[in-house]
């Protein structure tokens, strides 16, 4: 089960992800991120504060868009990952490939 909200705040798009990104639900996350990239937002923030679980299907969503994010020079930032979710990103070294910040304040201070 996953719930995704999209809001425009100031000069960025905020995607809020709640619940679990697994083999059955990751498709919704993928659609939402794909759509956001197509909409040509220059700054996309993903709030993972309420993301309780992520499996490789969820990681794959972020991985598969890395190329396009770079090509389109989008400032794409994840924040608010819990210790256990962050741990899954770290295990495969995805923390080196994606921009991950601890909280929204830290993100806003840098954009």
């Amino acid at each position: 089960m996953i719930e995704i909200h999209k809001d425009i705040e100031n000069n960025y798009l905020l995607i809020t992800v709640e619940g679990e990104a697994d083999a059955s639900s990751a498709i919704h996350l993928d659609n939402s991120i794909k759509e956001s990239i197509e909409e040509d937002h220059k700054i996309i923030l993903v709030d993972c504060t309420k993301l309780n679980y992520i499996s490789s299907a969820g990681l794959g969503v972020f991985m598969s868009h890395i190329g396009e994010i770079e090509e389109k020079e989008i400032n794409f930032i994840l924040f608010g990952l819990s210790e256990k979710v962050m741990n899954v990103f770290n295990m495969l070294g995805l923390d080196q490939l994606l921009t991950i910040k601890s909280n929204k304040e830290e993100v806003l201070a840098g954009i």
Binding site: S24, Y53, S55, S56, A57, G60, N87, M91, L92
Partner: protein
């Protein structure tokens, strides 16, 4: 003590399995971080079986057996689908996955990183994958 759970052959049912495994591990005072890792490994294996190993109209459940030992935990995952030996699978390189925009391939990497021992056995009727994780109880 052993625990078992039968997962109906649908991706939507993986959540129930994860809840079951989480409750078992919590009962044995495994930390939240370690619990999440083991749940993840089992989830990856079961998702693979349900998505790739079984025919779509299959009614066969995937059975998971958890055996809590003194120094660690064994998970056995039994299915009747096509045999897939993860030990013989060559994981893709992360950089290539990004280039090809592929979404798959990382699940098995995670299983191998998380677990301390992996054994696969396939017979005529069923496949059994056994995963062991050391735990400081």
């Amino acid at each position: 003590m052993n625990y078992s759970f039968d997962i109906p052959p649908s991706k939507d049912k993986l959540r129930q399995m994860r809840r079951f495994v989480t409750e078992v591990l919590q009962k044995h005072q495994v930390t939240e971080l370690e619990t999440n890792m083991m749940v993840l490994a089992v989830d990856e294996v079961c998702a693979n079986i349900i998505i790739h190993g079984q025919p779509e109209d299959s009614n066969d459940y995937v059975r998971i057996i958890i055996e809590v030992k003194k120094q660690g935990i064994w998970f056995e995952i039994i299915d009747k689908g096509a045999a897939f030996d993860i030990l013989k699978y060559n994981e893709p390189v992360l950089g290539e996955l990004i280039k090809s925009k592929q979404k798959g391939g990382m699940g098995i990497m995670l299983v191998k990183k998380i677990m301390d021992e992996i054994k696969f056995k396939s017979s005529k009727n069923q496949n059994s994958l056994r995963l062991y994780k050391k735990v400081d109880f």
